[in-house]
Symmetry: C2
Subunit: 467 residues, 2 copies
């Protein structure tokens, strides 16, 4: 057992329950403060809230037994992957057991002829792509962080490739899930499509561990493109950049990635990554296909960019050159947070119909201009999804209050444009009021489903909505 | 009121309830036998089961009022669109009200810059595509029949374009739904992606009207490709045809359509459509893209086909030529049913991982060879989804028994290959036992959701599963 000499919040496990957990899990049970604090912390600005214990699951049987023991003792269970979620999604706000699935990290099968694979929930996306490379396949969903597949499933993650390859909604073919009553169910067979009853797969994708613990994921894969090209291009105006993307899609150009970074973000990137890009609204592109197709795509997008007021259109097919071109984008989050040294980051997330994107970003810029807190905008422009990253002084509590107000106005703005309060980070703790504003009575249906599947409210309680 | 002189099953509405329906709906309420029989019939082999009344809804308010009146009287409500479903999905097996949504057929908005549109549930897919054509957009889901968008949503329809454009699962961006308690909810905003809570959109897609009545659908659209080419090619072997498709996908060739027709189906097509294709396993292709891209795709697929034992590879860019090439495919179902004159059709549907497709079709051929009943195989080979179409003598009841047994063996075969009992037709009445075999305890979760959202079991009761 991990020792627990100086816990500022002692583990509050009922002794009989603790003994049963120890009997079953031995060293897989940890109650020391450091480990509990790690599992209670958030990547962003949320308060740390400690679980009473952490159980490291190594098998489906471990998950079943942990769930059964917790249910018998009426103790909450919150699944935990890499801890990279943004809205406090895995923070155990009602204590109980943090069920760490990171050691369930085996790739169980790769069915290359079927373009799918079966993995345990603790597999990281980079690990999966390294494993797949030799077979000419890749898993496209890239939220930035090296998250676990289980965590990405539970938050319906997406990221830079979504414009072409979709989100976890499209990427997950099927799930094995442990339900609150301790049963293991499989939501789907391995066929590529099915009309067999309610779409339980999609119900669990994005349910943030509130309905079941994901213990196995079948993922859709894609062939590695024969050629990949990258391009970077600055624009006179935000509208010019957005119009370039809309027109590209209208022409049927299958953009694999298209990211927008605003002038402030480019300034942050130049400083952080030691680059000298023009400090303009900038698009980062990636093109996938045969050499012929990619060449044609690059030419067409270059032409559209010029028509919409772009500067130099820098592009390359070579892996090292591509990485150099995209370096700014890859390091953008850290660059933004480090606009001030010692700052903490807050990355918010909205998504609007693409016809409203330029307007939404412009109004947000006007709002940000009224504040002295450094903030940048970057986003997945093909989806209408963007983030504001704030660089907050941890010793100035009034800054947190100010950012909360800016964030509220941003979400209201997105909702007024028929957008969503979260394109890819999930609801977690942070967006619950907005969910109700966004979907109204539909949230009652979610509550009814939660009550039906988890009648004792023990699976990640207090997340997404209040019951 | 429609008169009802000779009903073989009289409408059995409680008089007070009938009076309330008449007061509210006037001539929109119909209880005559002919109209009830039409709404109780199935496209295929299922017994006709009459509703007690048909209500023709013209607005969301009509749907709400019909639902509220039915709930107060504890009368079942079954939504009805074009009546083209295959598994008895819209047959009102417990009587009550058939709620006909076909007159709610307005296209409410086309947001061309956002590549989406908003339609009422009674809009037909051909009507929608005619409306969209001038704006350079199209709605790709094509199940064959000119179904309603509401019906296609409810059965999670797909069809020939799914290999490239997905199914109704991917095509539906959001829904407006009337719930069993008479509320109108919206499952999603119009943003292209969202991580806002449970994916209610995907829960309603494929729920066959058992959880809510779809009254508005927001659909994802695509730009009409600059060039479309079609190709047709016969193969020495089934395996050669399937391998051509797998290798095409491995090379990243974005096939827009790829259909397989077996030798018997080609014989039926030659006879029915007066063609002279070789009576071999045949692939029908469609390619979408720029002229350069399409040209490259055609060349690559032609080469792969030749390597896998194809005969002549006939292709064309010209609309009339394309239609001629695809004529056999477009008329395939009628050609198959009419292998015998006066026959009735039964089209079954399974989907397996594509690596098992050739084997699954070969074993099915061996099974069909033991029967004297004419039967063909055709399918959406890129998805691993195929149909057997039987041409059944309506005066030989033993043929129905024999087809039932062949169908049972087919579904068992697909399930043993980790496939599904239905790729696109839904469960309806016909596949309920197989659903339980396919997903086991997961069906209990579906039941729990049904009970939570429709506690009195009034929405299309008796479909998908038994409660």
């Amino acid at each position: 057992m991990h020792s627990d000499p100086a816990a500022f919040k002692p583990s509050n496990l009922e002794p009989g329950f603790r003994a049963r957990l120890e009997d079953r899990f031995g060293a897989q049970l940890q109650t020391g403060e450091a480990i509990r604090a790690q599992h209670g912390a958030s990547e962003t600005h949320f308060e740390t809230m400690l679980p009473d214990a952490v159980v490291f699951a190594r098998s489906v049987e471990d998950v079943i037994d942990a769930v059964n023991l917790c249910r018998e003792a009426k103790v909450p269970v919150t699944p935990y992957g890499a801890g990279t979620s943004i809205e406090g999604n895995a923070t155990p706000i009602h204590g109980g057991v943090s069920l760490d699935l990171s050691e369930m990290n085996r790739i169980l099968a790769v069915n290359s002829e079927d373009f799918d694979c079966v993995v345990e929930p603790g597999v990281r996306r980079e690990q999966l792509n390294e494993h797949l490379r030799d077979q000419g396949l890749f898993f496209p969903i890239d939220p930035g962080a090296n998250a676990t597949i289980g965590g990405m499933t539970s938050t319906r993650a997406s990221g830079t490739n979504a414009v072409r390859y979709g989100t976890m909604r499209e990427a997950v073919l099927g799930l094995k899930v442990v339900t609150p009553d301790g049963r293991v169910i499989r939501t789907s067979r391995r066929a590529r499509k099915s009309a067999a009853g309610y779409d339980l797969t999609r119900l669990f994708v994005g349910s943030e561990g509130t309905l079941g613990i994901v213990v196995e994921v079948t993922l859709r894969l894609h062939p590695i493109p024969e050629q990949i090209s990258a391009a970077v291009c600055g624009f006179d105006s935000l509208k010019g950049a957005v119009d370039t993307v809309v027109q590209s899609i209208q022409l049927g150009i299958p953009l694999a990635r298209v990211e927008i970074l605003d002038a402030m973000q480019m300034r942050a990137c130049n400083k952080w990554s030691k680059l000298d890009y023009p400090e303009l609204t900038t698009l980062f592109f990636e093109f996938h296909g045969s050499p012929l197709q990619v060449g044609e795509q690059v030419e067409m997008v270059k032409m559209l960019s010029a028509e919409n007021g772009s500067g130099e259109f820098a592009w390359s097919n070579l892996p090292e050159e591509r990485s150099k071109l995209w370096k700014a984008r890859h390091e953008a989050y850290y660059a933004a947070v480090n606009l001030r040294s010692g700052a903490i980051g807050w990355a918010t997330d909205v998504c609007v119909p693409i016809s409203r994107l330029a307007e939404c970003i412009e109004e947000t810029h006007a709002d940000l201009a009224k504040s002295a807190i450094p903030a940048t905008i970057l986003g997945h422009v093909g989806d209408g999804n963007f983030h504001v990253v704030f660089s907050i002084d941890p010793n100035a509590p009034e800054e947190m209050v100010e950012v909360e107000a800016i964030n509220a106005r941003l979400v209201e703005r997105a909702l007024a444009m028929d957008g969503t309060c979260t394109g890819e980070h999930g609801i977690g703790i942070g967006k619950q009021d907005w969910l109700v504003e966004e979907l109204g009575d539909a949230v009652d249906l979610m509550r009814a489903i939660k009550r039906a599947l988890d009648p004792e409210n023990l699976f990640n309680p207090g997340k997404i909505f209040q019951l």
